[in-house]
């Protein structure tokens, strides 16, 4: 096999290079051993050094008689040589290389280079980048305002009975976001009630005022915590699912199909979701309030020897219709916020699977942030109004 008299075993060693100069202006590159990905490939600079040493060299040839198995790593090495030779105007002859190698090299170098413009690769200065970000933020604010405006118009259409959506869709969403959320709402609000009672009891016990556990739990749950916790559960559960659902419809061109069929996606997809949450959130919150009070009662009755009747009476005494009303009003607002954030992020979703993931995350973050901000506004507002 080996015409040059190389020992046969050398083919099984790692990749190696050697140089022979039969003439003054010719360099023969001898390739030995196995050129496979993962093996220690000789540095390209060994060749360039060899060429720099002797500037007379105008031709490069190859001798692959000692070459063992090879893969793409050899091709990349040879292409690097070809590239270098083109720059230095050195003639390169491929004869002496295995036929497969020659074909692959031809294939790799005959592909016309893509002329497509990739704007993302242009380097931008800091000011430009800051500017782009500001413009983007401004754009997204404008987008959100437009979206909210469209919802308002569609809601008006709904009130006047002109909105177009399927009632079966609305009922399905109500079932998914309402009834099916009961287990998790039960668990979380029961535990929140328990926690409030425990944390409060430590302080109240010092004054012998354990009975006020009932007041503490009732007011905290009904006025704020019930609505906030339900809102956060709905943000993670339903808001995320709205964003994912509408986002994947965007990816699938289903939204486009709605548009061209003359069914406005805002009315058809967004409106029923907002109505569903605006209706279901207060109901869920009412339920969460009851569960929270039950949680408090478990601690009060079980741990601090308060009678059930006594506990319920104290609860009843501490609650007013205003307190309940504030809680339910907040939850109504939260419902609209969560649904709007979910649908907005879904509609903004671009056409890829990763965009759906981003939309979902962003929907949850937007919902929770807006819930907290809304709570702050409502609390401050109530304070100013003196209720």
């Amino acid at each position: 096999m080996s015409e040059t008299g190389e020992p046969r075993e050398i083919r099984n060693f790692g990749p190696e290079l050697d140089f022979v100069k039969p003439d003054n202006d010719v360099l023969i590159v001898k390739l030995f051993g196995t050129w496979k990905i993962g093996s220690q490939v000789p540095g390209f600079n060994r060749l360039t050094k060899e060429l720099e040493k002797d500037s007379l060299i105008r031709k490069i040839r190859f001798d692959s008689s000692g070459l063992g198995r090879w893969d793409s790593i050899l091709i990349t090495f040879l292409l690097k040589i070809a590239n270098y030779c083109e720059q230095k105007q050195i003639e390169l002859t491929t004869e002496g290389l295995p036929e497969g190698v020659i074909n692959l090299c031809k294939l790799a170098s005959s592909v016309p280079e893509r002329t497509a413009i990739r704007t993302s690769q242009i380097k931008l200065s800091l000011t430009t980048r800051v500017g782009i970000h500001v413009a983007r933020i401004w754009g997204s604010i404008a987008e959100t305002i437009t979206f909210v405006g469209e919802i308002a118009i569609d809601f008006f259409r709904f009130l006047t009975g002109r909105a177009r959506f399927r009632w079966s869709d609305l009922l399905l969403i109500i079932q998914e976001s309402g009834a099916q959320a009961l287990p998790i709402v039960s668990l979380i609000s029961l535990l929140v009630g328990l926690i409030l009672a425990f944390v409060g009891s430590i302080q109240l016990k010092m004054f012998g005022a354990q009975i006020y556990i009932a007041n503490l739990v009732a007011i905290a749950m009904v006025r704020a915590m019930g609505a906030i916790m339900t809102g956060i559960i709905m943000a993670g559960r339903t808001g995320a699912s709205f964003a994912a659902r509408i986002g994947s419809m965007q990816v699938n061109e289903e939204i486009d199909a709605l548009k061209t069929a003359g069914l406005p996606p805002m009315e058809f997809l967004v409106l029923p979701r907002i109505i569903a949450l605006a209706v279901m959130m207060p109901l869920l919150t009412l339920y969460a309030n009851l569960m929270g009070i039950l949680g408090g009662m478990i601690v009060g009755v079980g741990g601090f020897d308060i009678g059930i009747r006594e506990y319920l009476n104290a609860t009843k005494g501490s609650l007013t219709l205003t307190t309940v009303g504030i809680g339910l009003f907040s939850s109504f607002i939260f419902g609209i916020l969560v649904a709007t954030a979910g649908c907005l992020r879904g509609m903004q979703c671009s056409r890829s699977a990763s965009a759906v993931g981003e939309a979902t995350t962003s929907a949850v973050v937007t919902s929770i942030v807006s819930i907290i901000i809304a709570t702050a506004i409502i609390t401050i507002g109530c304070n100013i109004l003196g209720i």
Binding site: A82, L92, T93, A108, S109, E253, L258, T260, A261, G262
Partner: protein, 272 residues
């Protein structure tokens, strides 16, 4: 004399423009996709929009059906400038159009029958049973009889495409846009779709705009076409695809229509 008049009438019937595109330029921001597109689609034609992958065929469709506003230029439907009229007027034009999207785009929360019925009931005052009958008819026309209660996730890719055509035909549109109807289908299913398109055209006189790069379909159904070029970003050939194959001397078009057979052989090792 009479014969001449008749012939003229016939010519007129054959070349009645239904969509006229004038100097249309499409762009995303500063990135121009295609520029200065001018062509006419005649009533009753099967009009092919062809070109290499990523040349803007689907974007052209989005510009024609109201999903994306052109950067410049006009689209006329029966002499009405589509992008210059009120949105409600645009919706009226869209009602005459049926669209099949690349991936089918069936509404995944509804069964196949509901997908079709939704559109029918939106525009026609008919009861549920009648709408269901119509939906069943449309499904039967595309060979999906008996699949009324299936959800899009329960059927194969080829069936989705056919169901999507059925939905596009829901209102018996004058113009049908099909985005890659046979892409990703086996040769036999693709052929069946082509036959379906031909039958639609001959039996209902539907004008069909097909966006495709499947050569078999291009030659068997198309009687007019435009070729969008990726390099020069505009139309480089138009006309009957079969004639283009015989007569067009543009290298890119020839290579496209012959699957690259007329391409000069790969030359000697590029850089070596």
């Amino acid at each position: 004399m009479i014969g001449e008049v008749q012939k003229q009438n016939k010519d007129k019937a054959v070349f009645e423009p239904i969509i006229v595109v004038e100097d249309l330029t499409m762009a995303f921001g500063d990135n121009v996709i295609q520029r200065d597109l001018t062509f006419t689609i005649n009533r009753g034609d099967i009009f092919i929009v062809m070109g290499g992958s990523g040349c803007g065929k689907s974007t052209l469709m989005r510009n024609l059906i109201g999903l994306q506003r052109p950067a410049r230029g006009k689209v006329f439907y029966d002499k009405e400038s589509f992008w210059d009229i009120e949105e409600s007027e645009r919706e009226r034009i869209l009602r005459r159009i049926g669209v099949m999207y690349q991936g089918g785009a069936l509404w995944s929360s509804m069964t196949l029958a509901e997908n079709i019925m939704l559109i029918i009931q939106e525009y026609q005052k008919i009861d549920h049973d009648q709408a269901l009958e119509l939906a069943s008819l449309k499904l039967a026309l595309v060979g999906l009889a008996g699949f009324e209660d299936y959800y899009p996730s329960e059927i194969s890719g080829g069936m989705k495409k056919r169901a999507s055509i059925a939905r596009a035909m829901a209102l018996d549109p004058e113009i049908l846009f099909l985005d890659e109807p046979s892409g990703g289908l086996d040769p036999i299913s693709a052929r069946m779709l082509d036959d379906l398109i031909l039958q639609l055209k001959s039996s209902m006189g539907t004008t069909v705009v097909v966006i495709t790069h499947e050569l078999a379909s291009i030659f068997s159904i198309g009687n007019d076409s435009v070729f969008l070029d990726t390099e020069s970003k505009t139309i480089i050939a138009s006309g009957n695809p079969k004639k283009l194959l015989e007569e067009c001397d543009n290298d890119t078009v020839r290579r496209f229509l012959t699957r690259g057979a007329s391409e000069p052989r790969i030359q000697a090792i590029g850089r070596a």
